[in-house]
């Protein structure tokens, strides 16, 4: 009893007071606001439901051939049965580990070489034409060659992933490190910083948003690279499974694998976004990459 009294007097600082303020701040506007927050997700769900329903009907009525677009219910069935039988886990793990190792390799090399080139201007000048040439080549087209060199194993898959992932990371790192804000440079001269200190305290942290933009693109490319490498030649992985399902005309099975890949992509994106927010929360427009490759 006395506790509620204390509570009332504490909130009594509100000029309207607890007695008058409470009814005015009735639950209606708040629930309305919450409802407004829910409107768009609900509409999205509605669109999804309508689309799935339409395909379900179209497929069952044979308006479209189930060999082209299977009924969503049969895709769901293929997916659940597949997980029950455990046919996905090995492939999922194989794709994920190749993606991860290739991505890590590319991150190490991309940031390392990017840093080196930013530090050694002459070396950058010499290598720049090659970087541009490679940057402009669709790296994914090198996948067949990599398979010829390294065979059907994990190594070639990791290498393909690293190849497609490397360049966006390298180029963004270089771009971030090359950035020179005149005011910050002058500040560092004014406080008596050495070249190394300017690098360490200004250029390096300043490049972080760029590096993360590169990593984000790289992560998405990495998954793509893994699946393509599996198409071209590999013994396990979701790409291999997808190919196998296609070969046996199991279209719901193909769609089930696509769903898994989609989930992977969404998860990857979410993780990268979270990391980016965590490390570049301070970043305003002028510090963020204007173009990303």
């Amino acid at each position: 009893m006395s506790q509620t009294a204390v509570h009332a007097s504490a909130t009594g600082r509100d000029p309207t007071g607890p007695t008058e303020g409470a009814p005015r701040r009735s639950p209606r506007p708040r629930s309305l606001r919450a409802a407004r927050h829910l409107v768009y997700p609900l509409l999205s769900l509605l669109v999804l439901a309508v689309t799935l329903g339409a395909f379900e009907i179209a497929s069952r009525q044979r308006w479209i051939s189930p060999l082209m677009v299977p009924a969503p219910s049969s895709v769901w069935e293929a997916l659940t049965v597949g997980f029950e039988r455990g046919i996905y886990w090995d492939h999922l793990l194989s794709t994920l580990s190749a993606t991860a190792w290739g991505f890590l390799l590319a991150t190490g090399l991309g940031i390392g070489l990017g840093g080196l080139l930013a530090a050694l201007r002459p070396l950058e000048r010499v290598l720049y034409p090659f970087i541009v040439a490679f940057q402009s080549t669709p790296k994914i087209a090198l996948a067949p060659l990599v398979v010829i060199w390294l065979g059907f194993g994990v190594t070639s898959k990791i290498l393909v992933v690293a190849l497609v992932t490397f360049f966006p990371i390298l180029v963004n790192t270089m771009q971030g490190l090359r950035l020179r804000d005149r005011e910050r440079q002058e500040l560092m001269v004014a406080v008596g910083a050495t070249k190394w200190q300017t690098f360490r305290y200004v250029r390096l942290p300043g490049s972080v948003p760029f590096v993360f933009a590169g990593l984000h693109i790289g992560a998405i490319f990495a998954l793509l690279g893994a699946v393509v490498a599996e198409f071209v030649g590999s013994s396990s992985g979701l790409g291999v499974l997808l190919n196998a399902e296609r070969a046996s005309f199991n279209v719901p099975g193909v769609f089930a694998v696509l769903l898994i890949l989609m989930a992977l992509g969404i998860a990857l994106n979410a993780v990268m976004k979270a990391l980016e927010r965590r490390f570049t929360f301070w970043c305003r427009e002028e510090d963020s990459p204007s173009t990303s490759i």
């Binding site: 005011e183 406080v191 008596g192 972080v208 929360f281």
Partner: protein, 258 residues
């Protein structure tokens, strides 16, 4: 004055070399002696070379001809003995307010413990207590500029260069910050060279005002301000203040039209 001179610029000229239109003279034969502990303002029309002169004095820019000496030693002051406040706060956005203020100590390997104590003092003095763990993007423009001032004061510099530090702020905030700058000057005894467009700001703060004219930049006249200190918010309306302002405005106008 000669005895107490701390900074001496002798016949300083600067011409910028531009790629397309050849050398561009920005400063021509400027000589200036600043006394120890003096508050000196530089005013003049936009583009007359105020920033150029300030940067040369601070050693951020090399003069084309002419020379500098600081405490009778040739050359600009060493970073250790000076502080610079730029037209924009120039804070490092990934560092907290405290870490921004500590930057000079880190760069110059000064005693970290002492610097941390000093940083807290300075933040308090500039009414920034409680912002130490915030990031620059969480502060208003006026607060950011005060952080920049705190940073410039960290290692108790003998001379502070300020380039229109409050140019981007509204008149009210500006007046408040000017009182704080005056306090800084009084408490630290540092020499301050202050660039501004604003005549009443210059009169309020200065011991002497250097008026520059353009084409190329040179000193057109120097006005001594003989108003008692400390000056307060009321000073602006005193007849003596108004009279000083009028004198400087006349000088400024002739400089701008010449």
């Amino acid at each position: 004055m000669r005895e107490s001179a701390i900074l001496d610029a002798d016949g300083v000229s600067k011409s910028y070399t531009t790629k397309d239109s050849g050398p561009h003279p920005a400063l021509s034969n400027v000589s200036l002696t600043v006394a120890k502990g003096e508050f000196l303002s530089i005013i003049g029309p936009s583009g007359c070379g105020k920033t150029t002169l300030l940067k040369i004095c601070a050693g951020l820019l090399a003069p084309s001809t002419g020379s500098l000496s600081f405490k009778k030693r040739p050359g600009p002051p060493r970073p250790r003995s000076m502080g610079v406040v730029f037209q924009t706060p120039a804070l490092l956005p990934w560092r907290t307010v405290r870490d921004n203020v500590l930057l000079p100590a880190i760069i110059q390997h000064a005693d970290r413990k002492a610097a941390e104590v000093r940083a807290v003092e300075l933040l308090e003095m500039l009414n920034l207590a409680g912002t130490a763990d915030k990031y620059p993007f969480q502060l208003s423009g006026g607060m950011q500029q005060r952080v920049a001032i705190a940073r410039s004061l960290l290692l108790d510099p003998e001379i502070i260069f300020m380039d229109e530090p409050f140019g981007a702020l509204d008149a009210m905030t500006r007046e408040k910050l000017n009182i704080e700058v005056q306090n800084v000057h009084a408490r630290t005894g540092a020499t301050i060279i202050f660039v501004t467009h604003n005549i009443s700001e210059a009169v309020f703060l200065s011991d002497r005002i250097v008026a520059m004219s353009a084409g190329p930049g040179r000193i057109s006249s120097i006005v001594t301000v003989d108003l008692p200190r400390p000056r307060t918010a009321n000073s602006y309306v005193l007849p003596e203040f108004r009279e000083q302002e009028r004198i400087v405005r006349d000088v400024f106008d002739t400089a701008a039209t010449s």
